[in-house]
């Protein structure tokens, strides 16, 4: 029995209601029917770095670009889109955290690791004493 909806377009489409029992086995989609995924990077303003905004499904980079513009450039103006296949991104997946640990005692390579004013002031004070004598 086709669906009778309050939306006349749906009634006109003559859609059969699924049998509740058989539909449980129903696989409408196979793997990759929605294509592969792409990662989308957008630039919000000229001069800024491109930033990841999300991923989407597309059949090729050109379609991914168009879909990305609709998905991520529809509301706020953006200035550029980069598209790359998810599978073309290389990353490291295990114990990543530890790989990025920094040696905490590297203050010698931070500006904050250097205090010179004490030495300068001491020097000036001593110089003053000498010239006063």
């Amino acid at each position: 029995m086709p669906i009778k909806s309050i939306d006349p377009r749906i009634t006109r489409a003559n859609i059969e209601i699924q049998n509740k029992e058989t539909s449980k086995e129903n696989k409408v989609l196979e793997k990759l029917d929605h294509w592969q995924t792409y990662e989308v990077f957008a630039q919000n303003k000229r001069g800024e770095h491109y930033s990841h905004v999300g991923s989407l499904h597309a059949p090729n980079p050109e379609m991914a670009w168009i879909l990305a513009k609709e998905q991520f450039g529809r509301r706020n103006k953006i200035t550029g889109i980069w598209i790359t296949k998810t599978s073309d991104i290389f990353s490291v997946t295990e114990n990543e955290e530890e790989m990025f640990e920094l040696n905490s005692e590297k203050i010698y390579r931070e500006a904050g690791g250097y205090k010179v004013m004490d030495r300068i002031n001491k020097f000036k004070k001593e110089n003053k004493k000498i010239s006063e004598k």
Partner: protein
């Protein structure tokens, strides 16, 4: 548009996790850090997150149907444009959320299959019809308001990709709320016929709205672990109280009547009292016997089937599935 509630199941049997890794994982969450897709995570965390984000995505894509129905009949060109923009947003939210769920390893095709077969759920409110234009106004205002309360809470959760998707979604939802409020105010301050329309829509939608945040804490599944893991960010009753606190005064302001004679704020406790929603109806509808369940799934199935030749024409079968990175 998603309100939570009835989405978590008891683990079938206790899964033994590596205690050291589990402790590190929990310490990270306690410290307010996010979990990212490549991190170690308990199987139960992954499972419940997939379930929740998937339900959220389904709710967006199915939620577009009762409103989408009214695009051609929206009163006036401006309201047509606004409703189209809103429906496009909801479908876009579904895409963002499916992507977030996919980072946990479940392909989108499987999620759509589980939606159409009835295995996966979506927000119960979308199993009710939008009978008149006033219904879409009430949905856009009050259902989206409930969704925002839920989504703002969830955006403070522990899973990075879901939080990032929610931030974008919440930003867009603020227009939905204003648009819905504008439509309700227009009708409620209009002619007696318009006032009657919106009052009737409110009468129809009040029970689903009360259902929206899920069963009362007294009868819902134990969620202590999920709260500690920042998967569930607030209890169903807390979110419902927050909603009532923010919106009941606004509804009364318009001279509308909320169809619950017991509804009042207890000024001593600060807690809203109300007639307990009919949780048997809630269960009946979520399990398939609501007025629109069959139609919603059939329409979704038709969309996938009718789009098949387009997708196939563009498909390159040489690709392997890969889990999105974020």
């Amino acid at each position: 548009m998603y309100g939570g509630g009835n989405i978590f199941e008891k683990p079938e049997n206790e899964i033994q996790e590596d205690p050291v890794k589990l402790a590190e994982f929990e310490a990270r969450i306690l410290a307010g850090e996010k979990i990212e897709p490549t991190d170690w995570m308990p199987k139960e965390y992954r499972k419940q997150l997939i379930r929740m984000i998937e339900q959220h995505a389904h709710s967006e894509i199915i939620g577009a149907l009762p409103e989408g129905t009214w695009i051609t009949r929206a009163p006036g060109f401006r309201r047509k444009l606004a409703l189209m923009a809103k429906v496009q947003d909801e479908v876009g939210h579904a895409q963002l959320l499916y992507s977030a769920a996919e980072t946990l390893g479940k392909p989108r095709e499987e999620m759509i299959n589980d939606l159409i077969s009835g295995k996966s759920k979506y927000s119960n409110v979308f199993n009710y019809p939008a009978v008149t234009w006033a219904d879409t106004a009430v949905i856009a205002w009050l259902i989206d308001a409930g969704a925002i309360i839920n989504q703002v809470a969830n955006s403070k959760g522990s899973y990075g990709p879901y939080c990032r998707a929610l931030e974008r979604i919440c930003q867009e939802e603020s227009f939905h709320l204003k648009y819905g409020h504008d439509n309700v105010v227009f009708l409620a301050t209009g002619t007696p016929k318009q006032r009657q329309m919106v009052q009737e829509a409110l009468n129809r939608w009040w029970p689903p709205i009360m259902h929206f945040f899920g069963p009362s804490d007294k009868i819902s599944v134990h969620t202590e672990t999920l709260m500690r893991w920042k998967v569930k960010m607030a209890s169903n009753d807390d979110m419902r109280q927050k909603f009532l606190d923010m919106y009941v005064p606004k509804i009364w302001d318009l001279g509308l009547t909320i169809p619950d004679p017991k509804l009042r704020k207890n000024e001593e406790t600060g807690v809203w009292e109300y007639t307990e929603p009919d949780w048997n109806e809630f269960k009946r509808v979520i399990n398939g016997d609501g007025p629109c369940n069959a139609e919603r799934l059939a329409v979704r199935k038709m969309a996938e089937e009718k789009g098949k030749w387009v997708r196939e024409a563009l498909l390159n079968r040489n690709e392997m599935y890969s889990v999105p990175l974020s």
